[in-house]
C-alpha cells in the first residue's frame, strides 16, 4: 500500500487529501470536504495530465515568438519532453490561432496548436 498527499484545487479551501493506494489498485481518499476532492484525487493518482502552454519561434513577423498550447491535456510526465521537442520548432507567419503546428507532440497523440494569430 502507498500513501500520497495532494492539495485539492477545486476551490480556495485547498483541502489536503490523503490518498491510500492499495496493492489491488483500489484508491481511498480522505480529507476532502466535498465530492470534487475525491474525483480530483483519483484523476491525479491514475492519470495526472496537464495542458502545456509555451512558445515557439516564429519567422517573418514583428513578434519573435508565438504562443502555443497542447490541444488537450497530456500526461504530466511528458511535459518536459513536449517542451524540449518544441525547441526545434520554428514556424513562419502568417499563423492563425488554432492552426496545428506539430502533430502528436512527444508521442502523446496530442497536437500543438497556435493560441494567437500572427500575421506577416
Amino acid at each position: 500500500m502507498e500513501k500520497r498527499e495532494l492539495t485539492c484545487i477545486g476551490c480556495p479551501m485547498g483541502c489536503t487529501l490523503e490518498v491510500r493506494i492499495e496493492e489491488d489498485g483500489g484508491i481511498e481518499v480522505a480529507g476532502n470536504t466535498c465530492g470534487r476532492g475525491d474525483s480530483y484525487a483519483r484523476k491525479e493518482i491514475l492519470s495526472p495530465a496537464r495542458i502545456v502552454t509555451t512558445t515557439v519561434r516564429i519567422d517573418g513577423a514583428a513578434e519573435k515568438v508565438l504562443s502555443v498550447k497542447t490541444q488537450k491535456e497530456i500526461p504530466k510526465d511528458k511535459i518536459f519532453a513536449c517542451s524540449a521537442a518544441l525547441k526545434k520548432v520554428q514556424v513562419k507567419a502568417p499563423v492563425y490561432a488554432g492552426d496545428v503546428l506539430v502533430e502528436n507532440i512527444a508521442d502523446t497523440g496530442v497536437d500543438i496548436i497556435a493560441t494567437k494569430t500572427v500575421l506577416e
Partner: protein, 425 residues
C-alpha cells in the same frame, strides 16, 4: 476638436468589454485608445490557460480570451487607435492623447470609461536592502520578455511573492529551461490560487517558503544570490534564519497597483485601500460621466470578472449617453447610500449606491483581510442583517462578491448605510 460619445482609455480586457457592451446598447460613437501596439492588454503576455471558465465555459489562454473580444470589436466596427498614449483627461472630459501619426490631439468625450489596468509594485516599495544589479525583474516584465520577446531573463531564479503572476512565472521559466530554486512569500499563506500552487510549483518540485522574505541581494553587476529569512508575526525578519540562494535572477511578484495618475489629475476621488477611483452602483467615479472598470478600479483575481464588470461600466456609460441625449442635460444623482467594509473586509466596490438606479441586481465585490475557514459573509442594512452566506474558505487572494436585488434595496427606503462583514461561525 473632435467630439465622441464614449472614449475608452485602454484596450485591454476591461476596455474591450466596455466598448462591446456600450455598442450593444446602441452607442455609435465609441473610441478606444490603446497605448500598446495591439489590443488585448496584458492578456497578450498571459499565454497560460485558465481564462474564460466563467465567461465562455471553456478554458482559454490569455491571447485566445482577448481574441474573442477583439473579434467582437472588429465585427461591431468599433474604432480604436493603437500606440496611443493618453496624456491627460480634463474634468470636462477632454481627452488629450498622442501617437506617431496624429501627434497630440484632443477628443471631447461625452463619457469616458477608465480602463487603464494596473502596474506592478517595484522592489523599492518593499525596501528590500542590498545591491541594485541587473537581474531583478518584476514578474510581469519577465513575463513580457519570455512570452513576447522570446528571451530568458535568467537561468537560476528566486521568486519573491506567491501571487498568481509569480506562480505562473515559476512554471514558465521552468518550461523554458530555467531553474526556479524557491518561491518566497512574506505572508503565512499564498496570495495565489490553489490550482496555481499545485500546477505551477508542486508539479515542478519548486519549494514555497511561507513567512519568508528577501533580506539581501548580492552581486554588484548581475544578481549573484539572494538571502531569504523567516519573518515573525509582524513581518520582521528573524535573525539567524538567513539562508543564501545562489541565483542570477530575482523575480518580484509583490502586488499590483491600479494606474490612476490620469484619474487623480482629472480630480476623481481615489479609494485609499483599492487605490482605484471611488465608484457608485453605476461604476461612475466622482467625476460625472466618467466610469471605471477592471484593474484600474480594483485589482481582480480573474479576467472573467473584469469582463463582467467592464460590460456593466459600458452599459452604464451608454445609459448615461442616452439620458444625456434625451434630456439634453446631465442627470442629477439621486440619494446615495454608502457601502462600508466592516470587520474582515478590506474594501468594497462600489462604495456607494443610489438604490433608484440599480438595475435588476447590484454586485458588490470585495476582498477579505485574512484567511478564513468556515465563516459567514453578512450584509447589514444599517444594524439589521439582511443576508448571511456561509463560506467554507475565504482568502485575500480571491475576490468575493455578494449580490443584492433591486427589490431588497427598494424595500428599504430609509436606508442609511450598507455594511459587508465577515462573521466567524
Amino acid at each position: 476638436m473632435r467630439a465622441c460619445d464614449i472614449v475608452i482609455i485602454g484596450g485591454g480586457p476591461a476596455g474591450l468589454a466596455a466598448a462591446v457592451s456600450a455598442r450593444k446598447q446602441g452607442i455609435e460613437d465609441i473610441l478606444i485608445l490603446e497605448r500598446d501596439r495591439e489590443l488585448g492588454g496584458i492578456l497578450n503576455q498571459c499565454i497560460h490557460n485558465g481564462f474564460g471558465l466563467h465567461t465562455f465555459q471553456e478554458e482559454l489562454t490569455g491571447p485566445e480570451y482577448a481574441a474573442r473580444f477583439i473579434r467582437q470589436v472588429d465585427e461591431l466596427h468599433i474604432e480604436y487607435k493603437l500606440n496611443t498614449m493618453v496624456m491627460d483627461i480634463s474634468p470636462e472630459r477632454e481627452v488629450t492623447a498622442m501617437n506617431r501619426e496624429d501627434g497630440i490631439f484632443t477628443v471631447k468625450a461625452n463619457s469616458v470609461v477608465l480602463a487603464m489596468g494596473c502596474r506592478e509594485r517595484p522592489r523599492g516599495a518593499l525596501n528590500i536592502p542590498g545591491y541594485r544589479p541587473a537581474g531583478i525583474y518584476s514578474a510581469g516584465t519577465a513575463q513580457r520578455l519570455v512570452n513576447i520577446e522570446g528571451c530568458l531573463p535568467g537561468r537560476e531564479v528566486v521568486i519573491l511573492g506567491s501571487g498568481d503572476i509569480g506562480l505562473i512565472m515559476a512554471r514558465r521559466m521552468t518550461l523554458e529551461g530555467a531553474k526556479v530554486k524557491v518561491v518566497s512569500e512574506l505572508m503565512p499563506y499564498s496570495g495565489g490560487l490553489k490550482r496555481n500552487i499545485v500546477q505551477c510549483l508542486q508539479d515542478y518540485d519548486i519549494p514555497l517558503k511561507l513567512s519568508c522574505t528577501v533580506v539581501d541581494i548580492r552581486g554588484k553587476e548581475r544578481v549573484e544570490g539572494v538571502v531569504l529569512a523567516q519573518v515573525d508575526e509582524k513581518g520582521k525578519p528573524v535573525p539567524g534564519t538567513e539562508k543564501e540562494y545562489r541565483c542570477d535572477t530575482l523575480l518580484l511578484s509583490v502586488g499590483l497597483i491600479p494606474e490612476n495618475e490620469l484619474s487623480r489629475e482629472m480630480g476623481a476621488a481615489i479609494h485609499e485601500v483599492t487605490c482605484g477611483p471611488k465608484v457608485d452602483e453605476s461604476l461612475e467615479t466622482s467625476v460625472e460621466g466618467v466610469f471605471a472598470c477592471g484593474n484600474v478600479l480594483h485589482v481582480h483575481d480573474l479576467v472573467d470578472f473584469v469582463s463582467e464588470e467592464a460590460a456593466a461600466a459600458g452599459r452604464h456609460a451608454a445609459e448615461y449617453i442616452h439620458r444625456l441625449k434625451r434630456t439634453k442635460e446631465r442627470p442629477a444623482r439621486g440619494k446615495t447610500v454608502p457601502i462600508e467594509a466592516g470587520s474582515g473586509v478590506r474594501y468594497t466596490v462600489p462604495c456607494s449606491v443610489c438604490p433608484a438606479r440599480v438595475e435588476d441586481k447590484l454586485i458588490i465585490r470585495f476582498r477579505v483581510d485574512q484567511v478564513y475557514t468556515d465563516c459567514y459573509v453578512s450584509v447589514y442594512f444599517d444594524d439589521e442583517r439582511i443576508l448571511q452566506k456561509r463560506r467554507l474558505a475565504a482568502a485575500p487572494g480571491e475576490m468575493e462578491e455578494v449580490r443584492l436585488t433591486r427589490k431588497q434595496l427598494r424595500e428599504a427606503p430609509g436606508l442609511g448605510r450598507i455594511t459587508i462583514k465577515i462573521e466567524e461561525r
